[in-house]
Amino acid sequence: EAEVAQSPRYKITEKSQAVAFWCDPISGHATLYWYRQILGQGPELLVQFQDESVVDDSQLPKDRFSAERLKGVDSTLKIQPAELGDSAMYLCASSLVHRGQYEQYFGPGTRLTVT
C-alpha cells in the first residue's frame, strides 16, 4: 500500500540552528500539505502545494520558515533559525484532489525538539 514518507522521524536541534524536513507524497497525489501539531492540539496547516505551486502559506511564519516543492513531487520544509517554540510534530499529508475526493493521507511525522 502506498504511503507518505517523511524523514527524519526525530530531530533534536539547538535554538538558532537550521533544520530541514523532507516529504515524499503518495505517487500521483498533486496536493501536498505541511502541518505543525503541538502536543495536545489539532494539526495547524502551514503550507499547501498544488503540484509545484504554493496554494496557501498564510499560516507559515515566513521570517523563519520556508517550503518548496520544486518538481511537484517531494517537498522540503526548512526552519532557520529554530526557536524553542518550534518544538512540535511536523506532519506531511498528500491527497488526490478531484471531485468528491479530498481525503488526506498522512506520513509518520517528524518530531522536532529544540533545546
Binding site: 489539532g42 499547501q48 496554494v55 484532489v97 468528491g100 481525503e103 488526506q104 498522512f106 506520513g107
Partner: protein, 111 residues
C-alpha cells in the same frame, strides 16, 4: 467562516461501555472525515463520510453524518482498551480543499 467543534474534548470510560463523540460544523459541507491519533504517532484515517445519512462501521466504531444538522457522531460500542487514542473530525472547505479540524477528543478507556 467554517468552524468545527468537537465534544467532549476528554473522555475517560470503562471497558465495555458505550459512548458517543460529537462533531458540529458551522457551514455547509458534505464531506467529513474522522481520524485517529495514538500518542506520539501520526494521523490515521478512520472514516470518510460523503453524503447526508452516511453511516460507516469498523469494528466497535460507527460514524454517521447528518448534513442538515451539520453534525457527525462517532459511536463506540463496548469499548476496549485498544481504542484509547485521540479522535479528530475534519470537514472539507470546498474553496481550497483544506480540512478544517476539530480540537480532538482524547479518549481513555480503563480496564
Amino acid at each position: 467562516e467554517l468552524k468545527v467543534e468537537q465534544n467532549p474534548l476528554f473522555l475517560s470510560m470503562q471497558e465495555g461501555k458505550n459512548y458517543t463523540i460529537y462533531c458540529n460544523y458551522s457551514t455547509t459541507s458534505d464531506r467529513l472525515y474522522w481520524y485517529r491519533q495514538d500518542p506520539g504517532k501520526s494521523l490515521e484515517s478512520l472514516f470518510v463520510l460523503l453524503s447526508n445519512g452516511a453511516v460507516k462501521q469498523e469494528g466497535r466504531l460507527m460514524a454517521s453524518l447528518d448534513t442538515k444538522a451539520r453534525l457527525s457522531t462517532l459511536h463506540i460500542t463496548a469499548a476496549v482498551h485498544d481504542l484509547s487514542a485521540t479522535y479528530f473530525c475534519a470537514v472539507v472547505r470546498d474553496s481550497n480543499y483544506q480540512l478544517i479540524w476539530g480540537a480532538g477528543t482524547k479518549l481513555i478507556i480503563k480496564p
